[in-house]
């Protein structure tokens, strides 16, 4: 590796440009926008997990004073059977519409049926209670096993399994099958001295963003419609909403508010098209906010999964074959991230023989949404648990076993390409050398190690960098800032221009004042939008040289630029001087960076978790935790550490506590933060974050996205630590006190 470059701005821990507003309460989030004459919209939701809607009578609701509009599926002008991009994935438009307002069948407890707009939220709520609906209640399916049974109730009578040699003629709940393979797993298992195989279960979990979905909409017949909403991708909101309402894209402006967490869950639409319909029908601006109960019942979640993994290894630790069979719940409509599970499960390993088969299965639960490295944590959990068991049974240190089999540059992946430069080995070595790994464990304590792989994505980003007459600049980008990315944009532009960061103000433009940009997902923003910022800054430098050349009667190639100045021989001009004189050299200066970024570098992560288990109660305490991850180059190290720590803790929650609890008839029974228990400050130790920097060769500064990989390893690192502490295998998440106690008692 070449010597690391020295930078002046990137790698520093600057104060984020949006920080003041956020610590003082001035920042405006999804629910913080009000407009004159605004009314409130509320949604009526299904009390049943699976039912046909036989009739709806809104007469009494409409008669209530203060009710101004009612919206139902029939208010979508026309819905085509086509696919639209929704952030990190894509949705069939019919399914999307049906999820937003059910057509004639409700498919989960909380499924939206109709919406009422009224003068106050209280009147809207009261009116919902006056709607009379007759249902024919059907038996629900709540698990992939039930859903795949031969006699299972079928959710969609027009869904026939895709991906089989022959498409079946009988409808079923299996939306699709896929497989990935390389080498010959049977031959690989034949070479193995040890084979371990197990079944694993991971429950339905929620992204758990603290800010509920919220929007304010104003429909305008003359083409000035506006949506203010909390989203990871306002261009995607515009695309979906405009499609559903048959609008041209230039007739709907979407403004991304500050966003109070998303983790993938805010890459699709729920309220936005409904608010716009209510606005159209009432002639008034409409605000809609989900209650927390609605957020749990009808947004997100992440797939519950049943996964089987089989791994073979030689006595010396060489892994010879890896095989998995994955079943992912999609929720009520097809489209779980099972393919991502197939592609990521074994990618931390350079093993020639692999075979992964995956099934996408619909059940009577909310349609899953992207959740931080969608699909990867569940599959990699199963894989990493078995890798740890192999290490233990062979008497090899789990980090050494991984080092021995680690994927590196040139390793063939199961999904096609060979890996470029990656930092898994460096992460493993950093974990091995970490203070935590040197700590001795005591009685009732255990340690788990796990690796995680996520691809990261690039895609389209657009940036304009408007230089002001005093030489400062405004960076207009189109990727909502969910975790401090404006600070990174500012630092990258400052580095490129050699100007103080505070002279460059980054803002998130709405869909009208910056060109299309893909949403904040796939760990793409600092990588891809960062590249667009760099390109816009380079465009500014090019123009600064041209303007200087014009003043000095030279050609642009005779001009140099550094540290905020152009120069040639004895001539010298500051950016401020050039911008002040722009009027005389051709008008103001705007840099552009409109890119489709390729070469997103995968980010590997390795985590260590030490726990202590109270064997009388099953309660697990996390004692120590280390999160190591390859950032390529950390633009703002504090916010990179924050991604590692936040991912780790979200994963710890997944491993230890979080799960949707359903009654037999499909009612979600824990739709609140008291009963769906995400980690609290008092549950946790400090999270040691170790940033590894193996530069991504395809980014000017070497950046790799860091947002997602960090949620993958905690599941296995934590659950394996529990299994070590109790001396028994763990297969099912979460490792909540009753579940851990049951494992102990079942083996007593």
């Amino acid at each position: 590796m070449s010597e690391a470059k020295q930078y002046k701005y990137i790698g520093t821990r600057s104060i984020r440009p949006d920080g003041f507003d956020k610590v003082t309460g001035r920042a405006n989030y999804g629910a913080d926008m009000s407009l004159p004459g605004m009314i409130w919209g509320k949604i009526l939701r299904s009390p049943h997990a699976h039912a046909k809607i036989k009739s709806i009578d809104t007469t009494k609701a409409e008669a209530l004073a203060g009710v101004l509009a009612i919206a139902s599926y029939n208010d979508f002008p026309s819905v085509a059977d086509e696919v639209v991009a929704t952030g990190e994935g894509s949705s069939n438009l019919l399914d999307l519409a049906n999820n937003i307002l059910a057509k004639d069948k409700v498919l989960y407890h909380g499924h939206a049926i109709l919406a009422i707009g009224a003068r106050t939220a209280a009147i809207a709520e009261q009116a919902l209670g006056l709607v009379e609906i007759e249902y024919e209640v059907l038996k629900p399916v709540l698990d992939v096993n039930d859903a795949m049974a031969a006699d299972a109730p079928v959710l969609h009578d027009n869904m026939f399994t895709q991906g089989l040699a022959e498409t079946p003629t009988k409808a079923s709940n299996i939306a699709a099958r896929q497989e990935f393979k390389m080498g010959d797993v049977e031959a690989g298992f034949a070479e193995a001295d040890l084979i371990v195989e197990r079944d694993f279960y991971t429950p339905t979990v929620h992204q758990g963003y603290i800010e509920p979905h919220a929007c304010t909409a104003r429909y305008d017949a003359d083409g000035q419609s506006m949506l203010w909403c909390s989203t990871q991708g306002h261009f995607d909101v515009r695309a979906s909403t405009a499609k559903l309402l048959s609008l041209n894209l230039n007739r709907l402006k979407v403004i991304a508010s500050e966003i109070g967490g998303g983790f993938g869950g805010k890459t699709t639409v729920y309220l936005e098209p409904v608010a716009l319909i209510l606005s159209k029908k009432s002639g008034r601006p409409v605000k809609m906010i989900m209650d927390r109960d609605e957020v749990f019942k009808a947004s997100g979640p992440g797939s519950a999964t049943r996964n089987w993994v089989k791994i073979g290894a030689k006595k010396d630790g060489t892994i010879t074959a890896m095989q998995a069979l994955l079943h992912y719940e999609a929720g009520a409509f097809k489209g779980s991230p099972v393919m991502m599970g197939c592609m990521t499960a074994f990618t931390p390993y350079a093993v020639p023989n692999m075979y992964v088969e995956g099934y996408d299965v619909v059940v009577n639960k909310p349609k899953v949404a992207a959740y931080r490295a969608p699909g990867a944590p569940q599959a990699e959990y199963a894989a990493e648990m078995v890798v740890n068991e192999i290490a233990d049974k062979l008497g090899i240190d789990p980090i050494d076993l991984r080092l021995q089999n680690a994927a590196k540059e040139g390793t063939q992946t199961i999904y096609g390409p060979k890996l470029k430069a990656v930092g898994l080995v460096e992460c493993l070595e950093a974990a091995k050398n970490s203070p935590q790994y040197q700590e001795a464990l005591k009685e009732n304590q255990g340690r788990g190690v796990a690796a995680g792989f996520w691809f990261n994505v690039g895609g389209q980003s657009s940036v304009t960098l408007n230089m002001n007459p005093d030489g400062t600049g405004t960076i207009v980008e189109g990727s909502p800032d969910i975790g401090g990315s404006r600070a990174s944009m500012q630092l990258m532009a400052a580095e490129e221009l050699g100007m103080p960061a505070e002279n460059l103000k980054p803002i998130i433009g709405d869909t009208e004042n910056v060109a299309f940009s893909a949403g904040t997902g796939g760990s793409r923003t600092t990588f891809a939008t960062g590249m667009a910022v760099i390109e816009a800054a380079q465009d500014v430098v090019r123009q600064l040289k041209e303007r200087s050349a014009a003043v000095w009667n030279l050609t642009a190639d005779q001009i140099e630029y550094a540290e905020g100045e152009t120069f040639s021989g004895d001539n010298r001009m500051t950016v401020a001087e050039i911008c002040a004189g722009a009027e005389r050299t051709g008008g103001q200066i705007t840099g552009r960076g409109n890119i489709n970024a390729r070469g997103a570098g995968p980010s590997f992560a390795v985590h260590l978790c030490d726990v202590e288990v109270d064997k009388d109660t099953g309660k697990v305490d996390v004692l120590r935790y280390t999160a190591v991850q390859d950032a390529g180059k950390a633009i703002h190290p504090s916010y990179v550490e924050g991604q590692l720590q936040g991912g780790a803790v979200q994963g710890i929650g997944w491993a230890l506590n979080e799960e949707y609890v359903y009654s037999a008839d499909g009612h979600m029974e824990n739709a609140g933060f008291l009963d769906y228990r995400i980690p609290l400050a008092s549950d946790l130790p400090m999270i040691d974050a170790i940033i590894v920097e193996v530069p991504n060769p395809f980014h000017p500064f070497g950046v790799r996205g860091v947002g997602e990989s960090g949620i993958i390893p905690p599941l296995a690192a934590t659950a394996y630590a529990v299994s070590q502490a109790i001396g028994l295998p763990i297969t099912d998440l979460p490792c909540s006190p009753p579940n851990v106690l049951k494992v102990i008692q079942d083996n007593a």
Partner: protein, 159 residues
């Protein structure tokens, strides 16, 4: 039912408002008084995003009725900084990057201020338990706790 007239004090300013008897203090602050710095995350007292003080007691404003503000002194995030001069706690949250999305930050700042008034020298464990009612999904709490401990030390030094 007619709205009820309430006289109160918010961040030291005399305020009067009309509210429905069922409206929460959170709804009054956000919807009637446009003090949107106080956030709603759950409306059931579980997340702490709506933390305010009522007569010096730290409460979730979603669990207090608007009419209970009658005659009380309410403190919200809008009253923590002195105009553009950030409170030490706010400054430390920024320096330590103790926020990512920032939706929990107003509640955490209000809770931390109360913590340090009650206990200027908390241990890490005391800080973690005091702030256990303020959920943050982004940070894993590490940088929040560092900011709180640093703010405590700075405030002790200044006292």
């Amino acid at each position: 039912m007619a709205k009820i007239h309430v006289n109160t004090s918010i961040n030291g300013e005399v305020v009067e408002f009309l509210c429905e008897p069922y409206e929460t203090l959170l709804d009054v602050l956000r919807n009637d008084l446009q003090l949107t710095g106080t956030k709603e995350g759950c409306a059931s007292g579980d997340c702490g995003a709506c933390s305010v003080t009522v007569n010096d007691a730290l409460v979730c404003s979603c669990l207090v009725l608007g009419v209970e503000a009658e005659g009380a002194e309410i403190g919200t995030i809008e009253g923590v900084s002195n105009k553009d001069q950030l409170h030490v706690i706010q400054q430390k949250f920024l320096e330590h990057a103790a926020l990512q999305c920032g939706i929990c930050t107003p509640g955490l700042v209000v809770s931390t201020k109360k913590l340090l008034e009650e206990n200027p020298n908390p241990t890490e464990e005391q800080a973690r338990y005091y702030l256990a009612g303020n959920l943050c999904r982004c940070t894993g709490y590490d940088k929040i706790i560092r900011a709180v401990m640093d703010a405590a030390e700075t405030m002790r030094g200044a006292a």
